[in-house]
């Protein structure tokens, strides 16, 4: 496994899905166990990856490079660097825990877990593919299981939400596809001279054809890629698929959606747009920072007005992803590292929030914020967990979200002072919607209607505790994750900002 660790991580879940396909649908516990095992292996491999990763190098590691479709010079090129490492770890952890968060899926269990594992494979693939075509394939592979997971196992408006998610993402993919083909046709392999999908070749500006050096062309390509990725982040005004998808998706799918899939947007910008079009990244940075500020504030205000807990959490994601954009736009070490750390931290924190919402929804079958009240006395342990997640979300020091937000602000302030001052209002509004929800759900006199809600159970705690520990540890000492990424990202800053 040592040599092909990334392939194993990516394709082991597929093997799991294939095994599940042969298990009779009635044997639900067997299916779940197989799914858990299939997700456990990548997690173990992720730990190995974490231990073996060379933190001093900005280069690609664990490289697997083979030719795939010769006639188009398409390669099977998998590798990780400091940018993808945190995302690989996040994906492995959340996917594994989400199997347990899905333990009570009764409808078409077999299909659900098979889809889930294929989704996991797609996510790993996106984060370690370094051939643009391969990247695109994984990007699309991920889309289909997600569509079914929302469309079949979702809530009442699942079909609307699933189609909206699918079409929106597909629209972005088309733009990405066009940009990809443009790059393919205008990048030459320095050895063979032929067209190439190899991203590393695309990063090197010397391999670009003269057409690809025309400023307007580059602007156009930047915008095509940006919109493609912006839909995924989601950047205002392309974000409205997100609340719908979240509200309808089952808990575990929401966790993956917000925890991992949103990061693919910002990951794509940093992996593809920034190094391939560095001058355009510089050109676009004020716009990106402004969009970040809009995301932060607009997302927070929208969250404040929501009546559905899950929708509130969904809009909080819009707000928190805004910080990532702001940090990325700063084009300095603090901002860039803060942005990627925020991607990781938002993944864990928002996962906790969605898991917590799922706990109460499973019991009360409603997520109406105003329908609760006084749950703090009824479900004290649950209250502790949810409060922990919410305080992490509002950026409380000592928990991981604060570190990345602080780094982003420290990076962004020298770069764009006014935008940062306005964005920083997000720390007030963020606290406001979080605490207001906390109050309406947990504080105040006990509501007799919920007298028989049992407190959080062991299985649910099992999914929350590991993430909680991670959030706390990285809040107290963030270097374990920053060490992975800093060399790569500092190098990226150098490439883009000179």
């Amino acid at each position: 496994m040592g040599e092909h660790i990334l392939s194993w991580m990516t394709f082991f879940p597929v093997i799991g899905a294939a095994v599940i396909a042969f298990i009779p649908g009635g044997r639900k516990s067997v299916i779940k166990t197989v799914a858990a095992a299939a997700a456990a292996v990548p997690l173990i491999l992720a730990v190995q990856l974490y231990l073996q990763f060379d933190r001093g190098s900005s280069g690609l590691q664990f490289v697997e490079h083979h030719s795939w479709i010769k006639s188009f010079n398409i390669e099977y090129f998998m590798a990780v660097d400091g940018l993808s490492m945190p995302m690989m770890l996040l994906t492995a952890l959340l996917s594994f825990l989400c199997i347990f968060a899905s333990w009570n899926i009764e409808k078409a269990t077999k299909g659900y877990f098979a889809m889930f594992l294929i989704l996991e494979a797609g996510m790993f693939g996106v984060f370690c593919a370094l051939d643009f075509f391969l990247f695109y394939v994984f990007w699309e592979v991920m889309l289909l299981p997600m569509y079914f997971l929302i469309g079949i196992w979702g809530g009442p408006r699942r079909e609307y939400a699933a189609i909206k998610f699918f079409l929106y993402t597909l629209a972005g993919s088309v733009l990405m596809l066009l940009a990809m083909i443009a790059f393919y046709l205008n990048t030459s392999d320095p050895v063979t001279g032929g067209h190439t999908f190899n991203m590393v070749h695309m990063f090197d500006q010397n391999n670009h054809s003269p057409w690809l050096q025309v400023t307007n062309v580059r602007h156009l390509l930047w915008m095509a890629l940006f919109i493609g990725f912006a839909i995924k982040v989601p950047v205002f005004p392309f974000h409205t698929w997100l609340p719908d998808a979240h509200v309808e998706a089952p808990t575990a799918v929401s966790v993956i959606l917000a925890g991992v899939l949103l990061k693919m947007g910002t990951y794509g910008l940093l992996r593809i747009s920034y190094p391939m079009l560095p001058d355009q990244a510089m050109w676009f940075r004020y716009a990106l920072a402004t969009l970040g500020a809009i995301n932060i504030l607009y997302g927070a205000y929208c969250a404040m007005a929501q009546k559905d807990m899950k929708k509130l959490v969904a809009y909080s994601s819009v707000s928190h992803m805004g910080y990532v954009l702001l940090g990325m736009a700063a084009m300095n070490s603090a901002g860039m590292n803060g942005a990627v750390l925020q991607m990781f931290n938002h993944g864990t924190i928002t996962a906790m929030m969605f898991l917590c919402v799922g706990v109460v929804y499973d019991r009360a079958h409603t997520r109406e914020i105003n329908g609760f009240g006084g749950l703090g006395l009824q479900m004290p342990r649950y209250f502790s967990f949810f409060s922990f997640a919410l305080f992490a979300a509002l950026g409380l020091p000592g928990l991981s979200g604060f570190v990345s937000e602080a780094m982003i602000f420290m990076g962004a302030f020298p770069a764009f002072r006014t935008i940062t001052i306005i964005s920083a209002l997000g720390i007030i509004i963020g606290a406001a919607y979080v605490l207001w929800m906390l109050q309406r759900v947990f504080l105040g006199p006990k509501n007799d209607k919920w007298d028989n809600l049992p407190d959080i159970n062991a299985r649910e705690m099992l999914t929350l505790v590991p993430i909680g520990i991670l959030v706390l540890l990285l809040g107290v000492y963030p270097m374990p994750v920053l060490d992975l990424m800093k060399v790569t990202l500092n190098n990226l800053v150098k490439v883009v900002a000179g």
Partner: protein, 732 residues
């Protein structure tokens, strides 16, 4: 005590309360007495450690002596954040204040909170608060100051909302946190501004950078105002003071510890600690904010009947004094007052808690005549009242007098007399409303006999803290009558020898002096003490003469903080003279107004020669304004809250209707287009195809009939065709 021992002791003081939190939170329920002894014991140990540090600094006796230890917390190669501990005289005093009050409140709570459903949680939260507060005191850079700053905010949130099943408590803790966050917004931006301009967050490096002019002009003013906003939030200054009265929803020991003695003083500590970062413009803002707060809140305290609320407004007013002092360029007396105030205000709250515990009411109209029933509570409460009223020989007199003197001196030098007028007026109001509490609670006839009959003196767990704090309230400013000793605080005063700090910093940065400063590499224990002379030699600038400056400092506590502004000696003499005059005048006036206030209160509430109700009736508007706390809450409710909720609703509606409308509209249009195109397909394209087919078919039909198989008919067709062709040919 060696420097290393001091650092170790300081770290233990930081970690002991955290340990108490962890043990009580996770295991409290399983332990006997729900683990309350853990908190009391660990805080006792922390207090002993604080005392050791305090004694060590007492022996050193130099306010500029400091011990600093830092390690790298976050390093990106080029961007670095350190975590570090700074212990100097001011720190040691604050450690004492926090540990004494926290220890006593822990002890007191074993009695006061007895039988509460979430008893162990209460102790856990107290431990967590103490940890965070100690963190603020020990931090050596702005980043970690902010970290712990937020954490005390969390503790405050948890403890205000301890009885969260009450709507009032649930509203109060949210309000406290959010109001603080508004202040923290400014605080954070201030930090960012300083960091961006200087590239460091370490206090002393910042002082040196600011001294060297790395940040100046409007940016310095704005950054200073930003930092001060943190103080406005945490120390509940106008216009963010609204959360503190509501915070009284928390259990009374919490009010004593957090909302009177320590956390609310953190803002004052922060500004005093960072004194060299505030330029003259920021100072003026600070001065006026403090003065207005001191005055306005004192007037509100006159009419409130809830004993805790009166004390809360009194706290606001006293914090206003401290802030005013900071603004007048006298952080020493601000810290001095912080120290004495912590003792007597904690005592007042704990005494009030003892009364509340006895009569189960916070309303003074339900009390009266409790003097005989609760003698210890009464005597200790009276001592604290005398102290806060500014009666000579008690601690509050010295510190408050020092502040008023400095504010008056500032007024005389700079022409700003209003702060002093507001301050001295508040000084007259303070004894009036404080003795109003004493008379209404402890004197006169019981007004609620049922409650009175049930009242009894509290148990020892509660009275011992009262007695200890009463002793502290007397001696906190020095042994009464011993005028030589009353200025003990000078040894610990806020004293930054900024030019020397700057010189040392420059020397560290310059490679030449590396050898000379080998032991002073950044991150190691730094000896500021004893190197002032060295710094002077390098810098060539007149470092202040400590002995020479000790004269005015002995009187007004004005130590090194503002030395650089008064560098010229001739000017210094003039300033010293004005200060002397101002302090004599202020002392006379403050004794006079204290006497006036106490007498008026006695006349009104004890002798009952004046009827407060009659005054109320004659001044209905004034009473309404005061009772309504100047309607700040109403103002915010009508503006900020309403706007925020409205704007949130607008955003959400915009999102749903416009943005999603466009998305769905696009989907709809696409479907319409596809429908139209399907119609086209069916009727036009398909129609065309079918039409062609139909034509062909029709033609086929027609032609089929033509083919009859008879020769005659064919001949007719052929002849006709030939005729037609000929005709066509002719015509053409």
């Amino acid at each position: 005590m060696s420097d290393q021992a001091i650092i170790t002791a300081a770290i233990s003081i930081l970690l002991l309360p955290l340990l108490s939190y962890a043990l009580t939170f996770f295991f409290g329920r399983m332990l006997p007495r729900k683990g309350d002894f853990i908190g009391v014991t660990l805080m006792g140990v922390a207090l002993v450690q604080a005392l050791r540090i305090f004694i060590a600094f007492w022996q050193v006796g130099d306010p500029t002596h400091r011990v600093e230890k830092a390690f790298t917390w976050l390093d990106l190669g080029g961007f670095r954040l350190d975590a570090g501990i700074l212990v100097d005289g001011m720190t040691s005093v604050m450690l004492m204040v926090v540990c004494i009050v926290s220890f006593l409140v822990h002890l007191y709570s074993t009695g006061y909170m007895h039988g509460d459903r979430r008893y162990e949680r209460f102790f856990a939260f107290l431990g967590f608060f103490t940890f965070s507060m100690i963190g603020i005191v020990l931090a050596n850079n702005l980043f970690f100051l902010y970290v712990f700053w937020e954490l005390v905010g969390l503790s405050s949130y948890l403890l205000i909302g301890f009885f969260f099943h009450k709507h009032s408590a649930a509203n109060a803790n949210k309000k406290a946190f959010l109001t603080n966050r508004v202040g923290d917004w400014g605080f954070w931006l201030g930090i960012l501004a300083f960091f961006t301009a200087t590239g460091t967050l370490n206090y002393f490096e910042l002082f040196a950078e600011v001294h060297a002019g790395a940040i100046k002009g409007p940016l310095l003013a704005w950054a200073g105002v930003g930092l001060f906003m943190g103080c406005v939030g945490k120390s509940a200054q106008m216009p963010l003071h609204i959360w503190l009265p509501d915070a009284m929803e928390g259990p009374t020991p919490v009010s004593a510890l957090i909302h009177a003695a320590t956390m609310v003083a953190a803002g004052v500590y922060m500004v005093a600690r960072l004194a060299p970062l505030f330029g003259p413009d920021a100072m003026l803002v600070i001065l006026y904010v403090g003065a207005v707060t001191a005055f306005i809140t004192a007037t509100i305290a006159l009419v409130k009947t809830d004993i805790k609320r009166v004390l809360a407004f009194s706290t606001l007013s006293q914090l206003g004094y401290m802030v005013m002092s900071l603004g007048a360029g006298d952080p020493v007396n601000a810290m001095y007052h912080l120290t004495t105030h912590a003792m007597f205000k904690a005592l007042l709250f704990l005494g009030a808690g003892s009364v509340i515990h006895a009569v189960h009411s916070q309303e003074m109209p339900d009390m009266g005549g409790l003097r005989k029933k609760m003698p210890i509570t009464f005597v200790t409460f009276l001592i604290a009242t005398l102290a806060i009223s500014g009666v000579p020989l008690l601690s509050g007199f010295y510190s408050k007098d020092g502040i008023l003197g400095s504010v008056l001196a500032f007024g005389m030098l700079e022409g700003h007399y209003l702060p002093f007028i507001l301050g001295i007026t508040a000084a007259a109001l303070t004894p009036f409303y404080m003795f109003r509490i004493v008379f209404l609670t402890f004197f006169g006839q019981p007004r609620d006999h049922h409650k009175f009959d049930h009242a009894h003196e509290s148990g020892r767990a509660m009275t011992i803290p009262l007695i200890v704090l009463a002793v502290m309230s007397v001696i906190a400013a020095g042994i009464p009558g011993n005028t030589a000793d009353k200025s003990w605080f000078r040894k610990f005063a806020v004293a930054y020898d900024v030019p020397a700090i700057a010189a040392q910093y420059q020397a560290q940065k310059a490679p030449v002096s590396v050898v000379a400063h080998q032991e002073d590499v950044h991150g190691d224990v730094a000896h500021e003490h004893g190197e002032a002379g060295h710094g002077e030699a390098i810098h060539g600038e007149a470092a202040p003469d400590h002995d020479g400056h000790a004269m005015p400092a002995a009187h007004d506590g004005h130590a090194g903080a503002h030395v650089e502004t008064h560098a010229a000696h001739g000017h210094d003499d003039h300033v010293a003279h004005v200060h002397h005059t101002a302090h004599v005048r202020a002392m006379i006036m403050s004794i006079f107004v204290a006497t006036l206030g106490i007498t008026a209160s006695w006349w009104t509430y004890h002798r009952r020669r004046v009827n407060p109700a009659a005054i109320q009736a004659r001044l209905p508007f004034a009473h309404k304004v005061l009772q309504g706390q100047y309607f700040f809450d109403e103002l915010y409710a009508a503006t900020v809250y309403r706007f925020t909720l409205w704007w949130a609703a607008v955003c959400a509606a915009f999102d749903r209707i416009v943005i999603d409308g466009i998305v769905n509209g696009t989907g709809y249009v696409t479907r319409m287009v596809s429908w139209v195109s399907s119609l086209c397909d069916r009727y036009i394209v398909d129609g065309a195809v079918n039409g062609v087919a139909a034509v062909l078919q029709g033609a086929g039909e027609g032609f089929r009939r033509v083919q009859t198989g008879r020769i005659q008919t064919y001949l007719v067709y052929v002849s006709a065709s030939v005729l037609v062709l000929i005709l066509i040919y002719r015509v053409l």
